[in-house]
Symmetry: C2
Subunit: 304 residues, 2 copies
């Protein structure tokens, strides 16, 4: 079990304000950083939060509205200047390829690394990224343009060795790796000792779901079942429900209802409309339904 | 004579730092704002400095390196959200059309106003914009990509009416406008009274020259003759002269030499390399040659 945390780089929406940067986050999992959305100023915020550009293994864009992707050209360009050589995969819904094409073409001669564009499925939930420790699954959202959330789920964690029990059955050290991965052990006499008797269960795998931007979408519930932390946009207060519907956004109350229905452990709201200088009313509206809610703010770090 | 001032939105260079934003400025002339370069975060800085997006009459881009133009998509997009309907002209060297094409195409259906792209001549000095009160002239610079500076020059200001003299010669009030513009007056007896006897000269027209990015370019001297304020990039200290040459940038000393040779009134330096956390040494290097130098900083307002 290594580090698993979310860094909020920006949690505002389209109109620039002095309170917030447009949407951008970093999911940190052990030694890897995953950039999730990349509004204008994301690279500045990365630097401010002392996150090492060299640890970025991928970028995940939810949709192509400017407040979620206009920081991408700058970030990609800076990574080149900082000497990146490793391929960088960028994930996003239909249109991400067209959005990146001019940058890729223009920078080909000097960028120093390749960008691998992955157009993900924004209509169904499917795995778009996988490595030894995590899978990333798309979450179909409903917005005015193709839009997808992302679910980061740790893989089942290794089991813990029960030393006393292993010594009792004469399990050699060289077999510990197999045990941790769930294998049973066969003694010299041919007796099978089940893994459960030689190990204890590892920690429950943690998960983080990112849902921005979206209209109220109860069908998300089953996809978000039991996640450790859910980020859900809460652009408006309930008194602007009509405006939320019209713009395909959610209210703080709706975000809380999704969290409640899915039975998530914790909720973090963000993507505040520029009209809210103080986010406390949004937080209170959500907490009235789902108490385990916090309001995102630039620089916030959420440990999983 | 109305207001004429320069607002520094950003004076850093390519690598993001906590000290500076990438390059962007606003030239304010009476009721008009001209955006000069538009690095990432320019729209945030406009808001921070309480500059009204609705007063922007044009955008002037020096070249297409990201630290001078990656804030443009966000600014253009926000101007649409704020309800702009008036055509916006954007000036820039070869490539500006290609850079803006994807944005213009993508946003055509919802932006709400037209963007008029003007590819300026980056090889010679020529007028690219003109209105009742100002002309903007390109300044050919030498960089690794087509690059142009801009010279904002007030038009010759109106002459001041000498009331006593006008009354003496019986000049009717209705003729004052013609007098202010320099016309002579003919009396009922057919005698010509020269304008100089009826008016006094108006104030000397003010001018602002923007030169970023460029290698040391002494040929700029005659183009900058007597300007009121010169912004000249000073990316490095003289101890990195080789690096300045290699990257087609200038040292603080070189910026000062250009100011000195052109006989400008004042110099403001900027576009500091990320290696300089403190800009004082750059300022001192320039002041040793040209004492009337200041070092740009975010939020600085330079009155002309």
């Amino acid at each position: 079990m290594g580090d698993f945390r979310v860094h909020i780089l920006g949690c505002g929406s389209a109109l620039p304000t002095m309170q917030h940067y447009p949407t951008a986050q970093v999911v940190e999992l052990r030694d890897k950083l995953f950039v999730v959305d990349c509004g204008e100023g994301a690279q500045r915020q990365l630097r401010r939060q002392r996150l090492d550009f060299g640890r970025i293994v991928g970028v995940f864009i939810s949709h192509l509205h400017g407040d979620h992707c206009y920081g991408l050209y700058g970030l990609l360009s800076t990574m080149g200047m900082l000497g990146r050589r490793r391929v960088l995969p960028v994930y996003g819904p239909r249109g991400i390829d067209k959005f990146l094409a001019p940058f890729i073409e223009e920078s080909r001669s000097y960028l120093g690394y390749d960008i691998e564009v992955h157009v993900v499925d924004d209509r169904t939930s499917s795995v778009c990224y996988e490595d030894r420790s995590v899978t990333v699954t798309t979450l179909p959202l409903e917005h005015r343009t193709p839009c997808t959330g992302y679910l980061f789920r740790e893989k089942v964690t290794e089991r813990h060795i029960d030393r006393a029990s292993c010594d009792f059955y004469g399990v050699p050290r060289s077999y510990y790796t197999a045990l941790r991965e769930g294998a049973d052990f066969t003694t010299d006499e041919g007796k099978v000792i089940p893994c459960e008797r030689l190990t204890r269960q590892g920690k429950t795998p943690r998960s983080y779901a990112y849902c921005s931007d979206t209209a109220y979408l109860p069908s998300l519930g089953p996809l978000l079942r039991d996640v450790s932390l859910l980020y859900h946009e809460a652009t408006f207060l309930s008194d602007r429900l009509a405006r939320a519907k019209e713009t395909a956004h959610s209210t703080a109350e709706q975000a809380a209802r999704i969290a409640q229905a899915a039975g998530v452990e914790r909720l973090v709201i963000g993507h505040y409309s520029a009209r809210y200088i103080d986010t406390q009313p949004l937080l209170e509206e959500a907490q009235a339904i789902f108490p385990e809610t916090v309001a995102a703010d630039e620089g916030m770090i959420l440990e999983l």
